[in-house]
C-alpha cells in the first residue's frame, strides 16, 4: 500500500498522495513518515545511511540506523558515497547524489500553503487549480516588510512547473540541489499521512520574483574543523560569554574534507 502510494507520487511529481500511515514504535515527529518510506523500499542489498540535520551521530540518526540494521538486516554506513538509500531529516548531503541513490525525507508538514490557507479542503482546490498566488503574495509581503524572503528554511518550490511543494524544513541553501537531481527524492509525512516525490532530473524551482531571485543563505565563515568554505554550516555556542564556532552540518562531508579526500 505504501509502495503503491510511492509509485503514484513518482508519477505526479510534487503532488501529495494520502496513505494509511501505520502505528510506529516511536512518536510522531521523530521520523515516522521517513521510516515507513524507507522500510517499504529497502532491499537486502541496500546500504542505508541516516542523517539528522546532516549529522550521522545524533541520537535519532543512530537509533533509526540501528533499528533497520536489526529488523531488515541491511548494511549501514555513514559514508554518503557508499549508501544506496539515505534517510534524512532536514538536509541534503553535500556530496552530489547519483542515479543509483534514493533520498528519503522526513516531513513534519507536507502542505506548503499550510500557513496561508487554514482549510485543507481549500488548499486541495488551490493545488488542483494550480492557483499559487497566495504563496506569491506571502513572498511579496516578506520582501515589502523586510527587504528579503523571510523563509531561510522550508522555502516552497514549484515542481515540474506544476505543483507547489514543501521541500521539508531543509535550509534554503539546499533548495538548488533539488533541481534536476539525479537521485530519486521521496518525502514521507507520518502524522499528516502524505507521501510525495521528485523523480530524478525533475526541474524544481524555488518560488521567487524575477527581480528578487531566490538567494540561498550560508554563514560567511569557513568550517572550524575542515576549513570548507562551500559546505552549509551549523553555529555552535561554546560558552556563555558569546563564544561560538561554525562547523559543517554534514559530518561525512566534513570528515572527507578534513582528510583531504577528493570530493
Amino acid at each position: 500500500m505504501i509502495r503503491r502510494a510511492i509509485l503514484k507520487a513518482i508519477a505526479i511529481p510534487g503532488h501529495q498522495i494520502p496513505f494509511g500511515a501505520r502505528e510506529m514504535p516511536l512518536p510522531y515527529g521523530w521520523g515516522t513518515g521517513g521510516i515507513q518510506v524507507t522500510a517499504s523500499i529497502l532491499g537486502p542489498s541496500d546500504v542505508l545511511k541516516v542523517i539528522d540535520q546532516g549529522a550521522d551521530d545524533t541520537t535519532n540518526a543512530v537509533s533509526i540506523r540501528r533499528f533497520f540494521a536489526r529488523t531488515a538486516g541491511v548494511a549501514t554506513t555513514t559514508r554518503t558515497a557508499e549508501a544506496t538509500v539515505i534517510q534524512t531529516r532536514h538536509r541534503i548531503p553535500e556530496r552530489p547524489l547519483r542515479e543509483d541513490q534514493i533520498l528519503v525525507f522526513q516531513v513534519p508538514m507536507p502542505e506548503p500553503l499550510f500557513r496561508l490557507e487554514p482549510r485543507l479542503a481549500e488548499t486541495r482546490r488551490l493545488h488542483a487549480l494550480a492557483d499559487y498566488s497566495l504563496a506569491q503574495v506571502k513572498l511579496y509581503e516578506d520582501i515589502a516588510q523586510q527587504g528579503e524572503s523571510a523563509s531561510s528554511y522550508n522555502h516552497p518550490v514549484l515542481v515540474n512547473g506544476r505543483y507547489l511543494m514543501s521541500p521539508s524544513p531543509i535550509p534554503g541553501f539546499d533548495n538548488p540541489k533539488l533541481d534536476r537531481n539525479p537521485a530519486l527524492l521521496l518525502f514521507g509525512a507520518g502524522r499528516e499521512k502524505k507521501i510525495y516525490a521528485v523523480p530524478p532530473y525533475t526541474p524544481v524551482k524555488s518560488l521567487d520574483f524575477d527581480d528578487h531571485p531566490f538567494a540561498p543563505m550560508r554563514a560567511p565563515h569557513p568550517c572550524a574543523l575542515c576549513g570548507s568554505t562551500a559546505h552549509y554550516l551549523d553555529e555552535i555556542v561554546t560558552d556563555d560569554r558569546g563564544g561560538r564556532m561554525f562547523v559543517c552540518s554534514d559530518t561525512d562531508a566534513c570528515a572527507d574534507a578534513a582528510a583531504g579526500a577528493p570530493r
Binding site: A128, L129, D131, V137, K138, A144
Partner: protein, 256 residues
Amino acid sequence: MSPLLEAEGLVLRFGALRALDDVRLSLWPGEVVAVVGESGSGKSSLLRALSGLVRPEAGRVLYRDAAGEALDVHALSEAARRRIARSEWGHMHQNPRDGLRMGVSAGANIGERLMAAGARHYGSIRAAAAEWMARVELDPARMDDPPRHFSGGMQQRLQIARCLVTRPRLVFMDEPTGGLDVSVQARLLDLIRALVEELGLAVLLVTHDIAAARLLAHRIVVMRQGRIVEEGLADRVLDDPQHAYTQLLVSSVLAA
C-alpha cells in the same frame, strides 16, 4: 454589437421562497446597470447567480469574453470560471473584509490579482500598485500599511484599486457605498463614476440607495419578490415610475 452578459429564465429558490423568479437581464459593454429593490427582493441573489457564485435551478447566463466567444457561465469548469473572474471580472463587496486580505499590506492586496495572472516582477507589481493607489486617491506612501489602518472609505477605494488593476471588462458591485457616511459616499461615487467613464467598464451595481443608482447608472432594474417589476433608463424610471412598487420606492427617498 451584442450584450456582454445575458441571462434568461433564472430561477432560484430557498425552500418555498423564490429569490429569483424567471429573471431575464442583459448588460451591454460599457453600460452601468443598477439593480434596486428592498432587502430580500432578490437583488444579491441575482448578482451571485450572474457572477457564477451560486448555480440557479433553471436558466442560463451567457458571458461574451474578450475574444468574443459566448460562454455559459454555469457550464464552465471551475478553473475556467475562476480565470475569468480574476482577469475579466471584478467584484466589489459591501464589507471590505470580504473583498480584501486584511492580513497583508495594501500593496499586496492590489498586487494579488497581478500575481494570480502570472506577474513575477516585484518592481513592476509595486509600480502598478502605487499607480492604482494614486488613481483611487490613496497615498502611495502607505502601500506597505495593512488595510486595517485605513478608514472605511479608504478600504472601499482600495477594493476598487484591487479590482481594476487587471483591467477587467465587467465589475459586480454589491452595495459599494453601504455603511459609509454621506460625504464619503459622495466622494466614492464620484470616483467610481470617473473610473467607469475612463475605462469604459460595464458595471452591475446592486444597491438599495436610489441616489447612488441615479448618479451612476444608465439603466435601472427594479426587483421585488424575485421578479423584475420595472426596467428602463435611469432618469425615466426615477422621474416617471410606472409600477406601483417603483412609485413607492421612489417616493420613500428622503430629500435632504
